[in-house]
Amino acid sequence: MATQFPPPPPPQWLRDLTATSTPAKPKSSSIPDPPGFTSTTALTTKQSKASASKALTPRKQPSPEEMDTLKLKKAWELALAPAKQLPMNAIGMYMSGNSLQIFSIMMVFMLFKGPITAVLNIQGTFQRLETDSNRQQMLLVKAAFVGCNLLALALGLWKVNGMGLLPTTRSDWLAWETAREPLERAYYVPS
């Protein structure tokens, strides 16, 4: 094998300038790349070495049916995720107490904000997983997602009620009740 001298490497500044996407590999690093990682530089410059050391077998592409099932499975996972958080949230709410403090108020705020934004972004959440063929099944998934978020919202309401922030009692409407006006006024006239 005739010794081939590689072309002189470009100067550092040029490499920094051209290498926009990939971060430059530290020069001093002696750590080898992890198995399965093929760096672009390695691919271009040391192709012969790489092909000799590894035996890469290309993965078999899944069929569209399998893909749908996988996507549906993933979608169900996403849809039920809020429900899984419920017990933890409930414990957190219970522990934070019913007093009006900055901590409990923040927690309640997050409790409301999470489900509402999730429901509003529902299309975006499931967009990647939605295909023409599984659209029917996805409806059910979305409904389950909304339902789970509503459960979280209900937890928030329960908490707010516990904190006494819901105007459900007579005293909450007392300010709108007016005193009765007397039709007569009596004045004491000192004799």
């Binding site: 007579r170 005293s171 300010a175 005193a179 006006e181 007397p182 007569e184 006024r185 004045y187 004799s191």
Partner: protein, 927 residues
């Protein structure tokens, strides 16, 4: 930076107090007053014979004995000898030369007080009223070092002359003055004690009877009648019956003041002097001023006063031949004048105080030893009113032949007691406020004009309103230069946190309210509640005859206006800020809502009577044997923030709110019972009543009604197994005791008490309190959101306490701990005894003596209520029953806050370039 950290726990500890330490002595004010000083009982005296420092002693018309420091006018000590005394009570105050006690006589008590600290040395109750007290300046060998004895003359059925031991008050001897003659005065010379009594002749004239007594044994040595012919019709024309001097004299005039007759005591001869008439004006007053010391020259001065001018004549007594001769006269000056006598060794000096000058002459010759002009007395007076001296006491310091300085404590016609040092006022004591009979808060007129202008703009059409506003702003621009000038000072003060409250015009908190006090002698005096050091104005509003009793009621029908009404005269209105009388009289009840039908009720024949359009609607007559003690209507302006009470479980208990409630207290003297009624004053219905038996009806029964609750206190006598004690009863009226129930009328918008009578459900609780309450009031705030404090005047401990309503709440659970919901409301378990927490004492270390009434007024800040207590002392403060939630306290460190902001700003400017450089560098430097 550690100091604030250390201060935090201290501040937290401080927040548990009712009166904050930084507010005490700062927001509250107190005039420790003595009352109207009398000429005969006021003098300079050295409390410690070894030092030259002297105090001014006085026993006032109000029956208060006190010592004043002549340096600053502060009260050194005082004793209330006769509470509720008036000018009619004879009172005497004497101090022996070189003695450290002063001896007082008032009522039926003669007492000696340590002059330096006011502690009582001894006291003696004589039978009958004290008619005179003198000190025996006897120079007998054995008593020379000890306390000088006193001679007291008492009246009553058996008039007595008693010699009292100066150290113990024990009676050394007594001599009974027989006969029916009225005892008048006692006097002592070096060798004899003279008792003078008034003998009534058949024709109704008075004759002076002089009884000479031996001072050692008390035996009568001589008795003779002075031939006063038919000159003395009343005792009032007796000018003087000489005090202690080398030759005590008696002087009197006839009722027309045309002749002055003088007798040297112990002799029978009478010298007669014509009183010359000046400008044809009658002499109104003749006064005699003589030295009080045995070893001073026996010279005296007679002061004549007409309506427009005064003059004086000085007489010498020739001791050898017992003759009185006129030495010289002091020229006539216009206006009133005051003369006072001072002694230095044997020399006698007379000081004359007029409205323009102070001058001192020697009794020996008419040469003026010292003369100082008076530019003004530096006291507030009515417009165009000449301030005149009424009487004076003086302290003269003599250097060689001239008088180097003179200090005179002068009572002015405005009621102020001022000290003139060489003619310039040093301090003044507003003693007229000690006789305040009625007072009110009024907002300053300056504040009101802005309100009125804004109202005018709101009601006129837009173009006119615009022109009005522009012209008003142009007018306001005139103040711009002065505002700009004061700006740097304001900023510095604000920066240092030392800014005092602004004046009345810039008062945004409503602390500067004007308190108008009507005094006993017909004056109206205004004090600024935010700046109480100075009397704003002081005006004579009623011309009273001597002895006439004035019972005015002062009120503020609307902002900026003060109205005085009394039995004799209808309402007269005054501008609150300037004291000017307002020409146009506004109708009294302007604030009353016009739509409601008016019912007027009044006290009539020992009962209550109400009329509508001059036809009687209801009567309230107490049962026989009962008399009405007091009637407390709910205040006309009593804002209530919430019509219900929110319970712990957030349900509502509705208050029974009716503006036409009144609490009536009646007492039955025979049965020793007191009945308390809550009346609906429109229909006359009794909504609640309670009878307490075994009540000490002679002790004060205080009562108060506000919002939907009432409270009263009384002294209960020992009865059966219940001990004697003071009780405080609190009652609260509710529409219904069921939560969320608004009663029969439910939520109807209006109602008529005449047609539908609803009865409240009343909860009451009785508490034992440690002290009798003589008067009650309640804090008032602008919207009634702030919780209430019951203000109780404790006469026995000279204090005003503010009891939080939470302590009194009738809903406190009995015999059990409060449930969780009740705890949320702040209710605590009922305990029958309320101990007055030392934190509740609003007067803290001050001693507020003789408070007759307490008035309150809301400030502009919702948290704050103003308080003003009057009687003898004047006491005022600001209260925040729910703490000052809407204003920064004095503990707020403005400087620290500004420093923090400044430090942050500096840090930002310093750090910003550093961060910028670092960011740029991080872009350019790799690895």
């Amino acid at each position: 930076m550690f100091l604030p950290l250390i201060a935090v726990p201290l501040l937290l500890a401080g927040s548990a107090l009712a009166v904050f330490t930084d507010e005490a002595w700062n927001v509250d004010y107190h005039y420790a007053l003595l009352g109207h000083p009398k000429q005969s009982t006021s003098f300079f005296h050295q409390p410690n014979p070894s030092s030259r420092a002297s105090l001014i002693f006085t026993l006032s018309e109000e029956g208060v004995l006190g010592a004043i420091n002549p340096r600053d006018g502060a009260v050194v000590w005082r004793q209330v000898l006769l509470p509720g005394a008036s000018a009619h009570n004879a009172s005497f105050l004497r101090a022996g030369e070189g003695q450290d006690v002063v001896i007082s006589g008032i009522g039926s008590q003669v007492a000696a007080w340590s002059a330096g600290d006011g502690r009582q040395a001894w006291s003696l109750d004589v039978n009958g009223p004290v008619e005179d007290v003198e000190i025996l300046e006897l120079v007998d060998g054995k008593d020379a070092s000890g306390a000088k004895d006193a001679v007291a003359l008492s009246g009553g059925d058996h008039p007595l002359v008693q010699r009292l031991d100066g150290a113990t008050g024990a009676v050394k001897w007594q001599h009974q003055l027989g006969g029916t003659d009225a005892p008048y005065q006692v006097s002592a010379s070096t060798t004899e004690v003279f008792a003078i009594s008034l003998h009534k002749t058949i024709l109704g004239y008075l004759k002076l009877k002089v009884t000479s007594l031996d001072p050692v044994t008390g035996h009568k040595t001589d008795e003779h009648m002075l031939s006063s012919e038919n000159e003395l019709a009343t005792a009032e024309t007796i000018v003087t019956v000489g005090a202690n001097s080398a030759s005590p004299i008696i002087a009197w005039t006839d009722s027309a003041h045309s002749v002055l007759k003088v007798n040297i005591m112990g002799t029978k001869g009478i010298s007669s002097f014509e009183i010359e008439k000046h400008d044809g004006q009658a002499v109104e007053r003749v006064e005699l001023h003589a030295p009080y010391h045995l070893n001073s020259l026996s010279h005296f001065l007679v002061h004549y006063q007409t309506a427009t001018s005064h003059w004086a004549e000085v007489f010498h007594v020739d001791l050898k031949n017992g003759k009185v001769g006129k030495a010289y006269s002091l020229p006539k000056l216009s206006g009133r004048g005051a003369f006072s006598t001072s002694t230095s060794d044997a020399n006698v000096y007379f000081t004359r105080v007029t409205r323009n000058e102070v001058m001192t002459v020697s009794s020996a010759s008419h040469g003026i030893l010292g003369r100082w002009s008076v530019d003004g007395f530096n006291v507030a007076a009515g417009e165009g009113e000449e301030i005149e001296p009424i009487h004076a006491v003086s302290d003269v310091s003599v250097r060689g032949d001239t008088v180097s300085a003179v200090r005179s404590a002068v009572l002015l016609s405005t009621g102020d007691w001022v000290l003139l040092r060489d003619g310039s006022p040093v301090w003044d004591r507003p003693e007229m406020l000690a006789s305040t009979v009625s007072a009110t808060f009024a907002s300053p007129a300056e504040m009101e004009t802005l309100v009125q202008q804004l109202e005018a703009e709101a009601h006129s059409n837009p173009i006119q309103a615009y022109i009005h506003r522009v012209s008003r702003h142009l007018h306001d621009l005139q103040r711009l230069p002065s505002f700009i000038l004061s700006l740097p000072q304001k900023i510095v003060q604000g920066f240092l946190g030392t800014s005092a409250d602004g004046g009345i015009a810039t008062d945004s908190f409503g602390f500067h309210q004007i308190i108008a006090c009507a005094t006993k002698d017909g004056r109206l005096v205004a004090v600024d509640a935010g700046n109480p050091d100075k009397v704003l104005w002081n005006q004579q509003v009623a011309d009273l005859q001597p002895g006439q009793i004035w019972q005015p009621s002062v009120s503020s029908p609307r902002g900026g206006v003060i109205e005085i009404s009394s039995k004799a005269s209808a309402g007269v209105q005054y501008n609150a800020s300037s004291g000017e009388q307002l020409a146009s009289i506004l109708p009294i009840d302007l604030a009353a809502d016009q739509t409601a039908q008016e019912v007027k009720y009044t006290m009539h024949d020992g009962g209550l009577e109400a009329t509508v359009d001059s036809s009687t609607t209801w009567h309230f007559m107490p049962t026989s044997g009962e008399r009405i003690v007091s009637l407390v209507p709910r205040p006309v302006n009593d804002p209530v923030a919430s019509i219900g009470k929110v319970l712990g479980d957030r349900r509502v208990l509705y208050k029974y709110l009716d503006p036409n409630l009144a609490l009536l207290v009646t007492a039955n003297d025979a049965a020793r019972a007191a009945t308390f009624y809550v009346l609906n004053t429109v229909s006359g219905a009794i909504l609640y009543s309670n009878v307490h038996s075994g009540v000490d009806v002679s002790s004060p029964i205080a009562s108060m009604l506000s919002e939907n609750w009432f409270t009263y206190s009384f002294t209960a006598e020992a009865l059966g197994d219940s001990p004697k004690g003071h009780q405080l009863v609190v009652g609260e009226l509710f529409e219904s005791l069921v939560a969320n129930d608004r009663g029969l009328l439910s939520s109807t918008a209006n109602y008529s008490s005449m047609q539908t009578g609803t009865e409240p459900f009343t909860l009451t609780k009785i508490y034992q309190i440690p002290e009798a309450v003589s008067k009650m009031a309640v804090t008032r705030t602008r919207q009634g959101i702030t919780s209430r404090q019951l203000l109780a005047v404790l006469a026995d401990s000279s204090a005003v306490v503010g009891i939080p309503y939470g302590v009194l709440d009738p809903r406190r659970p009995i015999n059990r701990d409060p449930s969780k919901d009740e705890q949320a409301e702040g209710l605590v378990r009922y305990s029958p005894v309320i101990d007055f927490d030392p934190k509740w004492y609003l007067n803290h270390q001050r001693e507020v003596v003789g408070v007759k009434d307490v008035i309150t007024s809301p400030a502009l800040l919702e948290s704050t209520s103003l308080l003003f207590a009057y009687g003898l002392d004047i006491f005022g403060t600001r209260l925040s029953p729910s703490f000052s939630f809407d204003v920064l306290g004095k503990d707020f460190n403005k400087f620290q806050m500004l420093a923090t902001v400044a430090a942050l700003a500096v840090a930002t400017f310093v750090v910003a370039p550093l961060v910028m450089r670092k960011q740029v560098n991080s872009r350019w430097q790799f690895m």
